[in-house]
Structure formats: structure tokens, C-alpha cells
């Protein structure tokens, strides 16, 4: 089961909306996953397969390679595409 964490600043607002969008996207892609939502302060201690967050945090994750960046947290298609690309490049 793929473990995904959505991240935003405070951990309660945007990350939750993003979590719902990722949930819809993953259902459409037919991939089983476990999704949690956390904040920037605590994410670095968490283990997961993929982090999904917004473009604004690109610099904060410069040292990691398992992050997918999204522009519009309500756009299921953008999430689907970006996640597919990410999973494809992982082989």
C-alpha cells in the first residue's frame, strides 16, 4: 500500500483539501493508498512513499526526491497527472 502524506503550513487547511483531491485522483488511477495530512514543522520526521504539497514549498523540500508539487489543490486532473509522472519515473 502506497503511503502518501499531504503537507501545508499549519497542517489543517490546505493539506486536508489536497488530501481529498489526492484521494479522488488515486481512486481514479485505481491505486490503493493510505493518505495522511501534516504540517511543515513535523513532516521531516515522517516516513512515507510520497509527499504531495503545493508549489510554494518547493524550496523547503530541495533535499528530497519523493515530493510531488501541485499548483491547484482542487484540481484532480493536475494531481493525477503529476502523481502518474512521479510514479512512472520511479520505474
Amino acid at each position: 500500500m502506497l503511503k502518501i502524506i499531504t503537507v501545508c503550513g499549519l497542517g489543517v487547511g490546505s493539506s486536508l483539501i489536497l488530501k481529498m483531491t489526492v484521494d479522488s485522483a488515486m481512486t481514479q488511477l485505481g491505486i490503493d493508498c493510505d493518505i495522511e495530512h501534516w504540517d511543515m514543522g513535523t513532516i521531516h520526521g515522517q516516513k512515507c512513499d510520497m509527499i504531495v504539497t503545493t508549489e510554494g514549498f518547493r524550496d523547503n523540500f530541495s533535499e528530497q526526491s519523493n515530493v510531488v508539487f501541485i499548483n491547484n489543490i482542487m484540481d484532480v486532473n493536475e494531481v493525477k497527472e503529476n502523481i502518474s509522472q512521479f510514479l512512472g519515473s520511479k520505474g
Binding site: L10, H37, T42, N60
Partner: protein, 449 residues
């Protein structure tokens, strides 16, 4: 009668009520039994964690308040709306249970109003919905309403406000994003929107803030744990230094006074983080449930989201708004001490998230000067407003000692309803006016085609 009593006592436990709401939402979304069960239990547990966090942060800030009074002879308090409502919920059972029902039924009212009136916003920012529900429960409790009336009237108020606030923000959001794909659901509308317009009046639209470059150092504040720890650390350490080891020993016992100050600041941060963890857990199932229902029942709904949805449109303005709102807050701290004798502390989270939005709106209307002015005005309003609010309400007697609100809309609502009849007339009137404007705007748009 025993069965009725049992049902009533269930309804009075917020953890159970919201757990049930989540359960219904999960069932409607056709999740399997395992997910329904765990989601329901997690919602209930989240509320309990939240209360624990609130208790912790109040405990850590009390020494600050007392030391502040003994050093300055003024009342100082930390500003966090989440802390205030979390503490209130933990202290007063009627407010806790009423707010849970108000939150659940209020959302249904939001959906009904969005379906049948010209204003189509669905308020999706969970923690703001929660703060609003406790605020509404609190003001009706203070107004002396009976429990059932609290819930009926509270739910209608909640639903109306959940549409009014995004509706007030939408003209600026539309200007920024160019469309109505989403709105903004937050409890700082009555600060950020006027600040944005003032920035527009006094600013220069030609000079866009986004053409400027931003210092990297400010990126640091995106980590809220560190932001709170540093700001509270500064305030606490300065205070214990001014108070001196003797005074601090009254609270610290044998511990070194500076170490005590640092530990209290970290403890306060820990309390906020525990509270947020609880909020995150209890909203985790609730908000998707709400959204699921609204997707089915309101075609053409406009999702109203948390403020970061705007950040990518104007990141430099965000930082400008953040910095200038901190300045505005500090100035207001001084002014409040003179005018009201109270000193609310800077809300660093408020400065970043919502001072930043003021900056974004200010830039949209008035360029970089607009952003600077909007941020400053917003920061000033926030601190001055919460100082004023503390003089007309005694939050400490409701469990929230040493803390005050940092959400301007909560402050405005509480002030308007101090004389309840004012609020009861104002809210529906505003709703009707906004509906009329929206109908007119749509007509103009279709005529222009």
C-alpha cells in the same frame, strides 16, 4: 423516558456528536466498514486531543500573564483563537456540545442556502468552521439563550456567516485569480478585505510588488513550529529578564529563571502543536464528509478554501504583508497599553497567514505601497481589536485565561452580538444585501456577453 435521556446525553457529548456526523459522511461516501469505524473513532479522539492541547497551552501561558502584570502593571495575553475556543470547549460542557451540533447543522444550513439563494459558497476550511461554531455557541450562551434555541439559532447564524464571509472576499479574490473557481473561507475577512481596499486607496497600482525579489531569510517562517517557538521565546525571555530572578522564583521554584522562561515558551508551543494535532485528526474525516454532501446537493457550488490558496498568486506581497503586519501589531501593542491597559502579544501565525493575505489584496489594488499599507493596517486592527474585545468579554471566566482571539471576524461577531439584537438584525440584512449585489453582478455579466 430513560431512552430519551440516554439519547440526549449522547447528543450532549461533542466527541460523540461529531463522531456520528463523520460516520454518516463516511457511509454516504460508501467507505468500507473498517474505514467508517476508524474514521468515527478518530474524529472523537481528535476532539479529546484538542482539549488536552488547549489545557496545556493555557497552563504554560498563565505564568507569563502573571509576571507581565507584576512587571508592567498591565494585562498581557497571547493571541490564538484556536486556543481560546479549545479552552472554552474544555471548560464549559454546554458550549462544547452546542458548538458540535451548530457545526454539523450549520453546515447543512450552508448547503441549503447555497442551493436556494444566489450566493453559492461552501465554506470548507475546517478549523475556521470549528472556531466559528464555538464563537457562535459562546455568544448565544452569554446572551442567555436556552440550549435548544442556542442550537437552532446558532446553526442558522453559522450557516449564514459561512456564506457571508466568502461572499465579502470574493471581489478581491476574483481580481487576483481572474475567476470564480474558488473562494476564501476564513475568519479574518473583516480585516484583510478593508485593509486591502485601504491599500488600494493609498497605494500605486502601477508598481507591482511581484516585480521585487524577496530575502531568503523570511522563508524560515513557513515552519510554524519554529515561528511560534521563537516569538514566544523572545517574549518570555525578555519578560523574565525584566522581572528578575526573585519574582520568577515564585513560579519557577528552584529552576533558573531564564531556563524557566524558555521552557514555558516551548511548552506553550507544544500546547499549540498538540491542539493542532487534535484539530487535524477531528477534521480529517469531517471535512471530506461535508464536501461529499455538498458536491451531491449543490451543483455550481463555489468551494471556499483556506487562505494559502492565494499565496502562489503573489508570494512577494505575502512576505511584505507578513512583515508590515508584524510592525502594525507591535505599534498596536503600544497603543493598546495606553488606551486599554492591555497588551495582546503578536500573533505570528496571524501575521504570516493573514497579514500576508492583506498584503496580497493590498498589492492587487494598490501595488507595493498598497501591500505595505494593507499589512500594517491589518496587523494594527488585529491587536487593537483583540485588546478592545478583552475589555467587553472576560474570557478567563470561561476557561480561556491568558489568551485572546486573533481572528478579526470572531472579534467583530462577538462585538456586534454584545448587544444581541444588533447582531440578529445585522447578519440577515447583510446576507440579503450581498444576495442582491450578486444577482445584479450576474445580470451585468450576462448582459455584457
Amino acid at each position: 423516558m430513560k431512552v430519551l435521556d440516554f439519547i440526549l446525553s449522547i447528543m450532549k457529548t461533542p466527541a460523540i456528536v461529531l463522531g456520528l456526523v463523520a460516520m454518516v459522511g463516511l457511509i454516504l461516501q460508501k467507505k468500507n466498514f473498517g474505514k467508517v469505524f476508524s474514521g468515527t473513532v478518530k474524529t472523537a479522539i481528535g476532539l479529546l486531543i484538542l482539549s488536552a492541547g488547549a489545557g496545556l497551552l493555557v497552563g504554560e501561558i498563565i505564568p507569563f500573564v502573571n509576571l507581565f502584570t507584576s512587571v508592567f502593571n498591565l494585562e498581557g495575553f497571547a493571541t490564538t483563537s484556536e486556543g481560546v475556543v479549545g479552552a472554552m470547549q474544555g471548560a464549559i460542557p454546554e458550549i462544547a456540545s452546542a458548538s458540535a451540533l451548530i457545526m454539523g447543522i450549520g453546515f447543512l444550513v450552508n448547503i441549503l442556502l447555497a442551493r436556494f439563494t444566489p450566493l453559492k459558497y461552501i465554506f470548507l476550511t475546517g478549523h475556521m468552521m470549528w472556531i466559528l461554531s464555538v464563537t457562535v455557541a459562546f455568544l448565544l450562551y452569554v446572551a442567555g439563550l436556552g440550549y435548544t434555541m442556542m442550537i437552532v439559532i446558532g446553526s442558522v447564524l453559522q450557516g449564514m456567516l459561512m456564506i457571508i464571509l466568502p461572499a465579502l472576499t470574493q471581489p478581491l479574490v476574483r481580481k487576483l485569480t481572474g475567476n470564480d473557481n474558488f473562494g476564501i473561507a476564513h475568519l479574518t475577512t473583516l480585516g484583510t478585505v478593508p485593509a486591502g481596499y485601504i491599500g488600494g486607496l493609498l497605494g500605486n497600482k502601477e508598481k507591482d510588488a511581484e516585480d521585487l525579489k524577496m530575502p531568503k531569510a523570511l522563508e524560515f517562517f513557513k515552519d510554524t513550529t519554529m515561528s511560534i517557538a521563537i516569538v514566544m521565546g523572545l517574549f518570555y525571555v525578555v519578560l523574565v529578564l525584566l522581572a528578575g530572578p526573585a519574582k520568577v522564583a515564585e513560579f519557577a521554584g528552584g529552576q533558573n529563571y531564564i531556563i524557566y522562561g524558555v521552557l514555558k515558551a516551548l511548552g506553550f508551543t507544544a500546547g499549540i502543536l498538540v491542539l493542532l494535532y487534535g484539530v487535524r485528526m477531528f477534521l480529517g474525516e469531517l471535512v471530506p464528509a461535508f464536501k461529499g454532501v455538498s458536491d451531491k446537493l449543490v451543483p455550481g457550488a463555489i468551494p471556499a478554501l483556506d487562505v494559502p490558496a492565494l499565496f502562489s498568486y503573489a508570494p512577494v506581497s505575502l512576505m511584505i504583508g507578513f512583515v508590515t503586519s508584524v510592525v502594525g501589531m507591535i505599534v498596536a501593542m503600544l497603543v493598546s497599553s495606553l488606551v486599554f491597559g492591555v497588551v495582546p502579544l503578536v500573533s505570528i501565525i496571524g501575521a504570516f497567514f493573514t497579514g500576508g493575505v492583506a498584503g496580497i489584496f493590498g498589492n492587487a489594488k494598490g501595488g507595493r505601497r498598497g501591500a505595505v499599507i494593507a499589512g500594517f493596517v491589518y496587523g494594527f486592527l488585529l491587536i487593537f481589536g483583540t485588546a478592545f474585545l478583552s475589555t467587553i468579554y472576560d474570557f478567563a471566566s470561561f476557561g480561556a485565561a491568558g489568551i485572546g482571539h486573533d481572528c478579526i471576524d470572531a472579534m467583530a461577531i462577538l462585538t456586534a452580538f454584545k448587544l444581541p439584537i444588533v447582531g440578529f438584525i445585522l447578519v440577515p440584512v447583510v446576507y440579503v444585501i450581498l444576495s442582491i449585489f450578486e444577482v445584479r453582478r450576474k445580470k451585468k455579466a450576462t448582459n455584457a456577453k
